[in-house]
């Protein structure tokens, strides 16, 4: 099965994301924890919306943000 974001081959057949996007997902998840801590609390949707607006958000992280906005269940 290909990566759910870019369609590229995944490292393991059962994985949803390629290595690049899996790494970006980790980065987004870690950032969410930092954002939640920084503001006391923040909803995931609000976080994703705000991260998408940031200039420093990398291309792969941005693709993950869009992916998570469409498929919130992928937060796991």
């Amino acid at each position: 099965m290909g990566c759910s974001v870019c369609g590229q081959a995944t490292e393991q057949a059962s994985a949803d994301l390629c290595l690049t996007h899996a790494r970006a997902l980790d980065s987004v998840r870690q950032a969410y924890e930092a954002w939640a801590n920084a503001f006391g609390s923040i909803g995931r949707a609000d976080f994703l919306k705000r991260v998408a607006k940031q200039q420093g958000t990398g291309k792969n992280a941005r693709e993950i943000v869009e992916f998570l906005q469409q498929r919130p269940e992928m937060w796991k």
Binding site: A31, V51, G58
Partner: protein, 718 residues
């Protein structure tokens, strides 16, 4: 008796010949366009000829096809038989060979380093009928008359074979890795029938590209996180001072708001006032990497450009040999004489005179050493011609760095006031120069920023005039630039001082990286991804560094060339066999990216101003010239813009400040990349044409539609 001296370049040959001729006026002749100098003295006739860099190179021993791989058997062959572009070297070999048959004595006077030793060795061995075994070696670091004469008087009795062996090994290893891996990449992509593209990797290229790709991935995966800073000021005697809060970053909004709440309209009490004197030693004399780094910082010159300029200054005997890793200036270079020479140049007279009157001259020295050459230093000779700006800039920084090395340390007073409003602490930092020392010699390449502190004592109170919290976001790690990438290569011990800049240029030429703030292209990401998956060791910097150490060990006779080559073959053979087995898989992935990158590299983001279609770089079938054309040609759009006709073109992400059109960059080896706006250029040309009442330039070629179809095969290496 007739002596034959082999130099590395024609300019060096001219200088050597002039230095060794009794009257300083050697006879210059040309045979088949190859310059030969005849110097005479009472004892002998000296013929000085030169190479043009390497005249011989490594090539496959048996296979003739360039598409064949893997290849393990190699030999040294005349370069003109390997590379069509080197055809003229045949004449040089022929001329040197005929000179050699009449010579009684042979001297290698190529640059004294691994490459120079190897260039001389291959010429003496292959073109001079095995004269390498009886040849002598002339060693020098500058092309000044005095040093050349001294080098000739004190010839080494034989060639520097450890350097030669190290050089041979380097070339042979690079060839084994480069040819096999690059052919595999290129051919596997070509077999997919999606067009030709030169793809390469190598022992040094691969790990270097990996640095860039790793950084690119970090940047692309980066997610910013918020933090807050405290911006606060105090005022005293009509002057405002910016305070520094004790925490550089506050990670929660609650804490930042609490600080502002606690300190708003508050008085800060001076808790402590500390000051200490900081002595700063002069900077180390320049080694090549340091020179390249400073030239990039102050003038924006890429490392390869700095090296090219420095070599020009060296060939004009204005500076010493630049390909050095030494940060030391030995006394035998003659400090005083050089400084007196510098003092004859008006702009340095005052500064140099301060040093020439010193009783003893002891330069500062850095930790790095080079057995072949000292650090880069000026010869003290004034330029005999008007130097162009980049040459003048580089000579200036080299002269100033040299003078700084003899100066005293500078002394600064660094002060800090700690101000409190419990539980918070703020700082005011100041600095003041007590003794200029070396900094006066190194201006404007040193910072002269000083900060005064308000007149406050412990216990004094001062009101905060302004305080607020600012929300900021973390930023991705910075991109490499050519200078920082070169530094990284040096830190990781991959490549040599002479080859690192060229490796970076190759990465640009192959389309693996782009822009000065280096971005890895999708092709680079794919190649590194594939190599990482199938043969990670090839792009492992530690592995390459280990090979570099092996080659250094050949120079110090701790290992041998044959041992290192055998080890390499043992390692490379199974990797290649494995890669060949996966050729199809690799090829299909590469071909896809090659095609998409080729199209992307030719297409502008900016649409046609007349019809809104995409604009592309096109090469005219009839004239062979490149121009920007509109993909709406078939619909009747005739919009075109001119392009530079030299160098490799790339479309940058930067827009023109005047008209907003995407800028185009033309890169030519060893020259500064030229970035220009095609639209502004076109407007300017039209305005000039109107002014001079000449007819307007002809519009688009009628072949444009056909040319557009061909667009995918355009704008390759020029």
């Amino acid at each position: 008796m007739q002596t034959l001296i082999v130099c590395e370049k024609p300019d060096a040959a001219a200088r050597v010949a002039r230095a060794l001729d009794e009257d300083g006026d050697p006879r210059r002749t040309e045979t088949q366009g190859v310059p030969i100098y005849e110097s005479r003295n009472r004892k002998e006739t000296i013929l000085v000829c030169s190479a043009l860099g390497h005249l011989y190179a490594v090539d496959s021993k048996t296979h003739t096809s360039r598409r064949c791989y893997p290849v393990w058997d190699f030999d040294w062959k005349p370069k003109h038989l390997i590379d069509k572009k080197s055809a003229r070297l045949a004449r040089w070999i022929q001329v040197i060979s005929s000179l050699a048959s009449n010579a009684d004595r042979y001297i290698n006077a190529c640059d004294y380093d691994v490459e120079g030793s190897l260039i001389g060795y291959t010429i003496l061995r292959y073109a001079c009928h095995g004269a390498d075994s009886k040849a002598q070696r002339m060693k020098f670091s500058t092309l000044t008359e005095k040093e050349l004469k001294s080098a000739y008087r004190n010839l080494a009795p034989q060639l520097d074979m450890p350097l030669v062996e190290a050089g041979r090994t380097r070339h042979e290893l690079d060839w084994l890795y480069g040819i096999n891996l690059s052919r595999l990449l290129t051919e596997s992509a070509l077999k997919q029938n999606r067009g030709y593209s030169t793809l390469s990797t190598g022992r040094v290229q691969g790990p270097t590209l990996k640095f860039v790709v790793n950084r690119e991935e970090e940047i692309q995966s980066f997610t910013p996180t918020p933090f807050w800073t405290i911006d606060a000021t105090v005022a005293r005697d009509g002057q405002t001072y910016t305070l520094e809060y004790e925490k550089e970053k506050i990670l929660t909004i609650a804490e930042a708001e609490q600080v502002v709440k606690d300190c708003k309209n508050a008085f800060l009490e001076v808790e402590s006032a500390d000051s200490r004197n900081v002595q700063q030693s002069p900077p180390y004399p320049f080694d090549l990497s340091n020179l390249q780094s400073e030239a990039f910082k102050h003038f924006g010159y890429t490392p390869s450009r700095t090296l090219a300029i420095a070599e020009k200054l060296y060939l004009e005997a204005l500076i010493s040999y630049p390909r050095t890793s030494s940060q030391k200036l030995p006394p035998d270079i003659g400090y005083s004489e050089i400084l007196h020479g510098i003092a004859t140049m008006a702009q340095y007279r005052t500064l140099a005179s301060k040093l020439t009157i010193k009783d003893s001259l002891r330069p500062t020295k850095g930790p790095k050493d080079d057995p072949a050459h000292p650090a880069v230093y000026p010869t003290g000779a004034p330029p005999r011609r008007h130097l162009i700006q980049p040459e003048a800039n580089l000579l200036d920084i080299i002269i100033k760095r040299f003078m700084s090395a003899f100066a005293e340390a500078s002394l600064r007073e660094s002060s800090q006031l700690t101000l409190k409003k419990e539980p918070h602490r703020f700082f005011l930092r100041g600095t003041r120069l007590l003794k200029e020392g070396w900094t006066q010699f190194y201006r404007p390449y040193t910072s002269d920023e000083f900060q005064k502190l308000p007149d406050l004592k412990v216990g004094d109170k001062i009101p905060i005039t302004r305080i607020k919290d600012s929300q900021k976001f973390t930023e991705p790690p910075p991109r490499y630039n050519p200078s920082s990438l070169l530094r990284k290569m040096e830190e990781e011990n991959i490549g040599t001082k002479a080859t690192r800049a060229e490796i970076i240029e190759i990465l640009y030429r192959r389309g693996y990286i782009k822009n000065i703030r280096i971005e890895a292209t999708p092709l680079a990401l794919k190649i590194i991804n594939l190599l990482n998956k199938y043969c990670p060791l090839i792009i492992d910097p530690k592995f390459t560094a280990r090979l570099e150490t092996s080659m250094d060990n050949i120079q110090t006779l701790q290992t041998s060339r044959s041992h290192v080559i055998a080890e390499t073959l043992d390692h490379l053979r199974p990797i290649m066999l494995d890669l060949i087995a996966r050729e199809d898989e690799i090829g299909s992935q590469l071909a896809e990216v090659v095609v998409s990158q080729r199209i992307a590299s030719l297409t502008f983001d900016y649409p046609c101003s007349q019809c809104g279609s995409q604009l592309k770089i096109i090469r005219s079938r009839t004239s062979g010239k490149r121009f920007i054309g509109c993909t709406g040609y078939e619909k009747g759009c005739r919009f075109t813009l001119p392009l530079p006709q030299f160098g490799n073109l790339s479309i940058t992400r930067t827009s023109c400040k005047i008209c907003g059109f995407q800028l185009v960059q033309a890169r030519t080896k060893g020259r500064r990349p030229m970035t220009s706006c095609a639209r502004c250029y076109s407007n300017k040309t039209r305005a000039n044409a109107t002014e001079s009442s000449t007819p307007a330039a002809p519009s688009t070629s009628r072949k444009a539609t056909d040319d557009l179809v061909e667009a995918a095969s355009l704008v390759k290496d020029q």
